[in-house]
Symmetry: C2
Subunit: 375 residues, 2 copies
């Protein structure tokens, strides 16, 4: 195989969608995949199957790649520091990734920066939690995602499972929020920063269900505040590639940071079909220190709805049904086998009328998930 | 490797760009590539390296693929008939491909259909050519492309090289044309047909240099005529996937068919960034008999300029220069080594102002080709 320009660690759908953009830009990617037929391994010929927690495996993958980026934030930071010492540019670097890996470190750093966060404290014992007060959201500081590692509790007794996990825990106030927003930013090592329009992210059972771009009826001052906040966090934490800042819009009209992600993010999938430059292309341009592309929307509204594993087993066969019902919804399947509630794809609709766009995207996703039109 | 849904014969840039769309739709592609590192082999893990004129090689590639499509029109028709007899759906089929492979057969069939073509006749001897008259365009009926196998002659003596080629020759009148247009149509085996906006194709040295979508100042009646003509040819010849009908707009305001191509075509590359559904996605949807997507333009103007091999050797390194100059031009590199005048990529700009769009696309392409801005 010829020398790759970029190593991507992790073979999920984010790496798969990066590859679509890499093909256009002529970027040769080498992939570290968790298995021989994971989502991105299906579409990246130059891949190694192995364990991203093993340093020698990482070394063999990045061997002749000057730049390394990631499908997820779980690579051990000490390995990334070793790779950097050995001459590879890890983007984002471990000094930035820390704040996406460790929610305790993230809260401390953002609070130091004066970035508004929910009230929070690290809790080691039920007594600490009693002191913090109820109701509380208790989270493992590391390793949680999509609602996993998160408990909403109204007493120390309800936090038994959390304390039994043996992991470091963070308690946060249960924010009274109107909705969730996401500020997505692309940044390059040269310091160029570009923000996508602020979107609304709608969750079901702690998992992103649909995203509306831009966030409907968002106060322009709040949109500007979200944008500035995203750009400031990206710059001060020295993030490279895509940063997603997930935000609460509180019922009293403030923004509070919920989570950070340092990679292309589910709340940015709409950009593939809805923006001048997709988040995947701008992630690649960012990590390779290429000039970034426009983050402008190409349509007044875009709606992305996740396809979760449901009643339909054969998504490829169902594609014909979906496209017959909604020929102009853009379909993105991840090449994954169907398991209950697993993210196996997404659909995006765009156009001038939000109701129409929402209806089309939801109907297409429901046909993939349930096999029947959503009503 | 799991069972592919589609076999693609030929590993050039058309197959490479099909793969970008296949990734989104979740279509597993198996590729027959001419070499281990050709354009599409770089991005399709499930590929076989071999010779598309060898039946056993073709059989091994299509083995478990229900549908077969093509990067080019050069697979021997007798092999395609064998594959069909063995249960594979070749799309387009050999009965249609014949008219893209053999210009003599194409002229005869279109003329029988009443489709306007340049005056023409098959010529076997210089005497035949004298009888046809001068000036004449002499073409090999098979195997010519991008200006190869075409001679403009003003006497039989000037046709010496053509006759010396030993190939069947077609003589055509030298059409007095204002410009070249292209009518691009997607069609499925179920008979669904969708036309893209008619574009203007500008050639240099017999090779497509740039494409403007839609064709500027085109008489709406001619546009409608081109569209009807494209759809009629696609339907009557039973083309599946993309058909490109290259047309002359004569100085006296008529349309004459120049060439047919039955695959995604250079005059449709603008659709990746400029249309609701790219020609590559609609080719896949067509050949797999999925409902077709909208062929509407997403922007008032789109301009595609080919990147031909020139002074710049390292296109990947030059990418940073191009994107710095034109961050919002969409770059498509084919992973090919640079040779003089070889198509190694293309760029597309879009927007509301044609002059601006043309300027940006040309400047980006010139930076790739010449290493300096176009003036």
């Amino acid at each position: 195989m010829p020398t790759p320009e970029l190593a991507v660690i992790g073979g999920g759908q984010l790496a798969r969608m990066m590859q679509q953009s890499a093909i256009g830009l002529g970027i040769r990617v080498r992939l570290l995949a968790e298995g021989p037929d994971v989502s991105a391994a299906q579409v990246v010929p130059d891949h190694v199957v192995g364990d991203y927690t093993d340093l020698d495996t990482l070394r063999s993958v990045v061997a002749d790649a000057p730049v390394v980026t990631f499908d997820h934030e779980h690579v051990p930071p000490e390995h990334l520091r070793t790779l950097q010492a050995e001459g590879h540019a890890c983007r984002p670097g471990p000094h930035a990734l820390l704040f996406a890996q460790d929610k305790g470190a993230m809260r401390e750093r953002l609070t130091d920066m004066g970035v508004p966060c929910p009230r929070h404290r690290l809790v080691e014992t039920p007594a600490d939690l009693e002191e913090f007060g109820f109701p509380a959201v208790v989270k493992t500081t590391r390793g949680g995602y999509d609602g996993k590692g998160v408990w909403v509790v109204r007493s120390a007794a309800e936090a038994e499972e959390a304390f039994a996990s043996g992991r470091a825990l963070l308690a946060e106030e249960l924010v009274d929020f109107r909705r969730e927003l996401s500020a997505l930013v692309a940044r390059s090592p040269s310091g160029e920063v570009r923000s996508y329009p602020v979107v609304e992210s709608r969750q079901a059972d702690g998992v992103c269900a649909e995203v509306v771009a831009p966030a409907p009826d968002l106060d322009p001052a709040l949109a500007e505040q979200a944008r500035e906040l995203g750009e400031r966090v990206a710059t001060e934490l020295d993030v490279t590639g895509i940063l997603a800042v997930e935000l609460f819009e509180t019922t009293d009209g403030r923004l509070l940071v919920n989570e950070l992600a340092m990679r292309p993010h589910n709340t940015g999938h709409w950009s593939i079909d809805g923006a001048a430059t997709s988040q995947f292309e701008n992630h690649l341009r960012g990590v390779l220190d290429l000039p970034l592309g426009s983050t402008d929307a190409r349509s007044p509204w875009a709606v992305m709805v996740n396809v979760l594993g449901g009643a339909v087993e054969d998504l490829e066969a169902q594609r014909a049904v979906v496209l017959a019902a909604e020929p102009d919804v853009k379909v993105h399947l991840y090449g994954k086998s169907v398991k209950a509630d697993r993210k196996v794809g997404h659909v995006t609709a765009y156009g001038p009328d939000l109701d129409d766009v929402l209806t089309r995207a939801r109907r297409a996703a429901a046909l993939f998930t349930e096999g029947a039109p959503h009503d």
